[in-house]
C-alpha cells in the first residue's frame, strides 16, 4: 500500500464526552477519488479537519504521507491542499492578493503570474482586484478551491466543495478534480448526497455514527438514481 497518501486506523474523535467520529478506517491513494456522504452534523467537516491534521484524533492512528500529521515536517504540507467550511481567505485583500499570498507561502514560482493564471481558470479574472469581502458566496468558494489547489498538491481534501457553486462552477470543479487525478493526486471530498463526476470512478463512502462504510454497489446506484429523479 505504498501509494496511500492518507491512512486512518480506527480513528475516533470526541468533543468533551460527545463522540463525533467513531472507528474510522480509511485510505486515500494516489490517482483515486473518494466522496464521503452523510447527513448534517454527522461529522464530515470534523473528518476533514482530522484528516488534514488540524484536529487531533481522540483515539486511533492517522498517517499523512506515511507520518503522523503532528510529526510531519512543514515542507510536506506543500503536498496537501485543503478546502474547509471557512474559505481561509482574507476579506480585506483582493482575490489576486489572496492567491499571491498563498502562492508565496507555498513557494510557488512567480506567485503573481500563477495567481493570475488560476483566476482565469476559475473565471474570476474580472474581479481580480476586488476585495474578497465584496465577492458573492459562490465566487468566494471558487477562490477558496483555487487556494486549495494552487500548489498542485498530492492529496486534496475538500469539505463540501460543490456547496454554493452554480452549474458552471460545478463543471469547473469537476474539471479540476479530473486534472488532479490525471497527475496522480488523491482527492477526498464530502457531500450531503451521493453524486457522480462524469469519467471519474468515485469511491463512495457513507459516514454515520457507526463509522465510515463504503456504499454497496446496488445501494450506490439506487442512491444516485433517486437523487437524479429528485433533480
Amino acid at each position: 500500500m505504498t501509494d496511500a497518501v492518507l491512512q486512518a486506523y480506527r480513528i475516533s474523535k470526541f468533543f468533551g464526552d460527545r463522540p463525533v467520529l467513531h472507528g474510522i478506517n480509511f485510505a486515500a491513494r494516489s490517482g483515486q477519488a473518494a466522496v464521503v456522504v452523510g447527513r448534517n452534523g454527522v461529522g464530515k467537516s470534523t473528518l476533514i479537519r482530522v484528516f488534514c491534521g488540524l484536529a487531533r484524533p481522540s483515539a486511533g492512528r492517522l498517517l499523512l504521507f506515511g507520518e503522523e500529521p503532528f510529526r510531519l515536517a512543514a515542507p510536506q504540507f506543500r503536498r496537501l491542499g485543503v478546502l474547509l467550511h471557512q474559505t481561509l481567505l482574507y476579506p480585506n485583500l483582493s482575490a489576486q492578493e489572496n492567491l499571491e499570498f498563498y502562492g508565496e507561502i507555498y513557494g510557488v514560482a512567480e506567485p503573481a503570474a500563477h495567481a493570475a493564471q488560476w483566476l482565469a481558470r476559475i473565471g474570476l479574472q474580472r474581479v481580480a482586484g476586488e476585495p474578497v469581502s465584496a465577492l458573492s458566496r459562490g465566487m468566494e468558494q471558487r477562490l477558496a478551491i483555487a487556494r486549495a489547489m494552487l500548489a498542485d498538491p498530492d492529496l486534496i481534501l475538500l469539505d463540501e466543495p460543490f456547496a454554493a457553486l452554480d452549474p458552471d462552477g460545478v463543471q469547473m470543479l469537476a474539471a479540476l478534480i479530473k486534472e488532479a487525478l490525471a497527475r496522480q493526486a488523491a482527492v477526498v471530498f464530502t457531500a450531503h448526497a451521493p453524486l457522480e463526476i462524469e469519467g471519474v470512478d468515485l469511491g463512495l463512502f457513507r459516514l454515520d455514527s457507526d463509522g465510515l462504510k463504503p456504499f454497496k454497489e446496488e445501494n450506490r446506484r439506487r442512491a444516485i438514481r433517486s437523487l437524479l429523479r429528485r433533480h
Binding site: 491534521g53 488540524l54 496537501l80 471557512q86 481561509l88 480585506n92 485583500l93 492578493e97 507561502i105
Partner: protein, 224 residues
C-alpha cells in the same frame, strides 16, 4: 523559512495600511492614557522624569497588548490561521512573523507616545530622549514576544481580548520595573552606563520570552 516570514509580515502590513485599524486604536489609547496621567500628576514638578517614564511604560504596555492581540485576532476571526497552519510554513516562523508585526505596531505607538510625552510633560527634544531608544526597543521586544504568545492562548477562549492584559501585566512586571527605572534615569540626564543593570534585565527578559514563544507557539496554536 524567510519566504514565509516575509510574506506574512508584508501581508499584515498591507492589511494595516489598508484599514489603519491598529494604528488608530494604538495612538488613541496612548493619547488617552497620557492625558489621564497628566491630569492625575500634572505636567511639571520635581518628579517629572519619573512620572513621564511611568506614563511612557503604562501607555506602551496597553498599546502593545492591543497591537499584538489584533495581529492574531485578525487571523482567527477570518479562520485564516488554519490556512497558515496547513501551509508549509513552520509554526515557529508564523510566531516570528507575528512577533515582528507586533513589534512594528509597538514601535509606531512608541514614536507617537514619545512625541506626546514631550508635549505633555514639557520635556526637551535631545540626548535624553535619544538614549531612551535602546531601552524602549528592548522593552518593546519582550512585550511583543510575551503578548504574541499570550494572545495565541487567550484567543482560544471567549472574551480572550479581556483576558490578555490580565495575563500580560503580571508577567511583564520585571521588565516594566526595569524599563521605567531606566527611562526615568535617562530622562533625568543620566548616561546609558548608569542604567546598565536595568538594560541587562531587559535583555534577559527578551531572551526568555522570545525563546519561550518560539518553542511553545506550535503547541498553543494547534486545535484540540
Amino acid at each position: 523559512m524567510l519566504e514565509g516570514f516575509g510574506a506574512i509580515v508584508r501581508k499584515d502590513l498591507r492589511l494595516e495600511v489598508r484599514s489603519g485599524e491598529s494604528t488608530v486604536a494604538l495612538v488613541s489609547l496612548s493619547l488617552l492614557i497620557l492625558v489621564v496621567m497628566v491630569l492625575a500628576f500634572g505636567p511639571g514638578g520635581a518628579r517629572r522624569a519619573e512620572v513621564a517614564a511611568g506614563a511612557l511604560w503604562i501607555a506602551l504596555i496597553f498599546a502593545g497588548t492591543l497591537g499584538a492581540s489584533r495581529a492574531l485576532m485578525a487571523e482567527r476571526e477570518s479562520g485564516c490561521i488554519r490556512g497558515l497552519l496547513l501551509s508549509p510554513v513552520e509554526p515557529a516562523t508564523i510566531y516570528a512573523a507575528k512577533l515582528a508585526v507586533a513589534l512594528i505596531f509597538m514601535a509606531e505607538a512608541g514614536v507617537a507616545v514619545l512625541v506626546m510625552l514631550v508635549l505633555f510633560f514639557n520635556l526637551e527634544f535631545g540626548g535624553g530622549l535619544l538614549r531612551l531608544i535602546p531601552v524602549f526597543l528592548l522593552g518593546a521586544l519582550g512585550l511583543s514576544a510575551l503578548c504574541t504568545l499570550l494572545a495565541t492562548v487567550s484567543g482560544r477562549v471567549r472574551a480572550g481580548g479581556m483576558l490578555l492584559p490580565v495575563l500580560v501585566v503580571p508577567l511583564f512586571t520585571p521588565a516594566l520595573i526595569a524599563g521605567s527605572k531606566a527611562s526615568a534615569a535617562l530622562l533625568a540626564g543620566q548616561s546609558l552606563g548608569a542604567v546598565a543593570t536595568w538594560l541587562k534585565l531587559l535583555c534577559a527578559f527578551d531572551v526568555l520570552f522570545v525563546t519561550a514563544g518560539y518553542l511553545l507557539f506550535e503547541h498553543v496554536i494547534l486545535e484540540d
